[in-house]
Symmetry: C2
Subunit: 393 residues, 2 copies
């Protein structure tokens, strides 16, 4: 299979830039054991990759995606028809340079873009999983990714990189597979979900479950989907992705297509129209049950919990080199949280770089054009790759 | 009617402490003209009062309530069976001392605790208003309050005081009726709703309107109410009333009645259980359409808009003495916003006191036990009352 990739990738630069997508069925012999104690066997994992593996397989970069993301980092996303979600970061001559690195991104467990999730068929029953899908954790997502890399005979990762929930996975990777992770780039993230983080997710879940069409998760074979509830969940979450100042400078109290307020409940303000659009467009590309499962995994995330509440112990003896980035206007996973991770790593003498990037766009900054972030990531990866003598493919 | 109050209030201290409640029907001769251009006539206004009017009627304090509040400031609230919402602030020997001041609180226009709102009967049609109720503004609420005070022959207010939406009303009072307002105490409030404020309200409204039981506002005569949507709206709003640090110190990641997470979608965490309770208990005391109307009024609030965008111009020439209070942990209506109001008042030479109170409970701090807030309000009112020689009743 890997050979097939290489052949495909050699066809033309264009195809190389767009990457190669594949779905692999895993766990047929040895099932994936989840943190809940449950197991899943014979499950699909979808991924995409760009660039070429070098001779000693030392140039692999694993990109971890966020809550509603997918493995379509670059190129046209076949689900949305839009460009990939991190083309500013990953690609030829980008900070994660596909001329140098072999980049892979794997759709997370529980999601709905190809990897098994609640919208998949349960091989045991032949029925759609729905709420029969087991509740998963960030650790489970990472374990599934490791299974795929085993399958692809990739032992070592030059870098694991991700923002938000992607950042949580990078830290989990560094904690669970220290020998496999050479460098870890965790952006706009946290080491545990706070009460406020959980609260916002719980609002979203309640909005979905309050939708009569949700029907206790059994909506998948019917016509009516819990789109209204999912849209509300997305709207609530989306506010947390943006900063107050960013919202003010972008929308303020500007009216939408009118000179005066209409004294009604239509979208008078641009911010209302924008949020409604965010909600409505989201439901076409995301499964409501997946939203429940992945937010649950994030709420369960507490990397210190397995280490007597001391985060530093999760990384004891690590040789991984860390790069932490936060954004000054991110109030979802704040600079204070990144600093806590940095201090924990300092406490055990781990090598860690940290940059708090001045940017007023809030949490979503990591997805946006951000030269400062790009420069930090580019510089960190380049110097580490040079130091480790990572060869070109 | 005023005489009746005085007689009742003389019966016993207990009754005086619990206050006297009344509902007055206004607008039968001259209707209330709304900012939308519509009019409402023959409408009920519910209010409650405590203390006694002094001889020259110079000791009246108008308390303005917040979004989901009502006029039950003290004593048992007949709707909820619980104590009033501001007993720490208003009462005998409290900062708003009912031994000295005659305190009145009026249920706002559009609400559902006795004053006319979308759950009331439209006198023109004999049917429930529902969405036929006109969209209102904070200015309309204040104008209705002024009509009631006219009816009660109260020309002058020693103080107007309120927090959150109550604070918006106090500023609107000072702008629209400068000659009637001697002092204005605005707590944890703003002069205009920001894009983020509007965004959170829009999520709440969309949650209500997404509930199939909402039925375009025509649920009032049926059995099924949009309780699920209203509960979600309340949950989303409630997060904005508390600070991240307050949530962390109160709930953190503590589990609810269990030692381990349950790997399911029940309320594993205390914060989830708490939020669900906030949502569920809210729907028993509040009307979903009222929630739409009052959040809309708040979103429309921009005191500077009628003054070429310059807030100071709203108070040009004012003789009112202002007291502004903010809380360090309030991220809904921040200290920065209170400072903007203070600076605007300074710019026109208005007399203004300002205190930014160190408190980690977020926006809701104004409703909680807060000795620093109490001391500021008590001191401000006392010194102003002494300076104006406000006599005891």
């Amino acid at each position: 299979m890997i050979m097939l990739f290489f052949m495909e990738q050699n066809i033309s630069t264009e195809i190389q830039d767009e990457g190669c997508a594949a779905v692999v069925n895993l766990g047929r012999d040895v099932p994936l054991r989840l943190d809940s104690g449950e197991e899943i066997s014979s499950f699909d994992v979808a991924y995409k990759c760009w660039g070429e593996l070098n001779e000693d397989k030392s140039n692999v970069v694993l990109v971890c995606h966020a809550l509603t993301g997918d493995h379509y980092v670059r190129g046209i996303n076949p689900i949305t028809g839009k460009r990939g979600w991190w083309e500013t970061m990953v690609g030829p001559d980008k900070p994660v340079d596909t001329n140098r690195y072999y980049v892979i991104c794997i759709n997370v467990l529980g999601s709905c873009a190809g990897t098994v999730g609640p919208a998949s068929i349960n091989p045991v029953t032949g029925q759609l999983y729905g709420l029969d899908f087991p509740v998963i954790t960030i650790g489970d997502m990472v374990r599934a990714q490791a299974m795929l890399l085993d399958y692809l005979s990739i032992d070592s990762l030059f870098a694991v990189i991700g923002g938000s929930m992607g950042g949580m996975q990078t830290l989990q990777w560094a904690a669970d597979y220290p020998e496999r992770v050479k460098t870890c780039v965790a952006i706009a993230t946290t080491w545990r979900h706070s009460a406020q983080n959980i609260a916002f997710h719980e609002v979203g879940r309640q909005a979905i479950m309050a939708d009569v069409n949700w029907n206790h998760g059994r909506y998948l074979d019917g016509e009516d989907k819990p789109h209204a509830g999912l849209a509300v969940a997305r709207m609530a979450a989306h506010i947390t992705y943006m900063s107050e100042s960013g919202l003010t400078s972008r929308f303020g109290r500007n009216l939408q297509d009118r000179d005066e307020v209409a004294f009604g409940f239509d979208a008078d303000f641009q911010i209302e129209s924008y949020l409604r659009h965010q909600g409505i467009s989201f439901v076409d590309r995301f499964d409501a049950n997946s939203y429940l499962y992945i937010t649950r995994a994030m709420d369960y995330y507490d990397l210190s919990a397995d280490y007597d509440g001391v985060l530093a112990n999760a990384f004891q003896g690590t040789k991984t080199r860390f790069c932490l980035l936060s954004f000054t206007s991110d109030w979802l996973y704040t600079t204070v949280e990144s600093r806590h991770i940095v201090r924990s790593l300092n406490a055990i003498g781990a090598r860690v770089s940290f940059a708090d990037i001045e940017m007023d766009k809030g949490h979503d900054s990591f997805l946006l054009e951000c030269p400062d972030m790009d420069a930090v990531v580019r510089g960190f990866l380049q110097s580490e790759a040079d130091a480790m003598e990572v060869q070109l493919p």
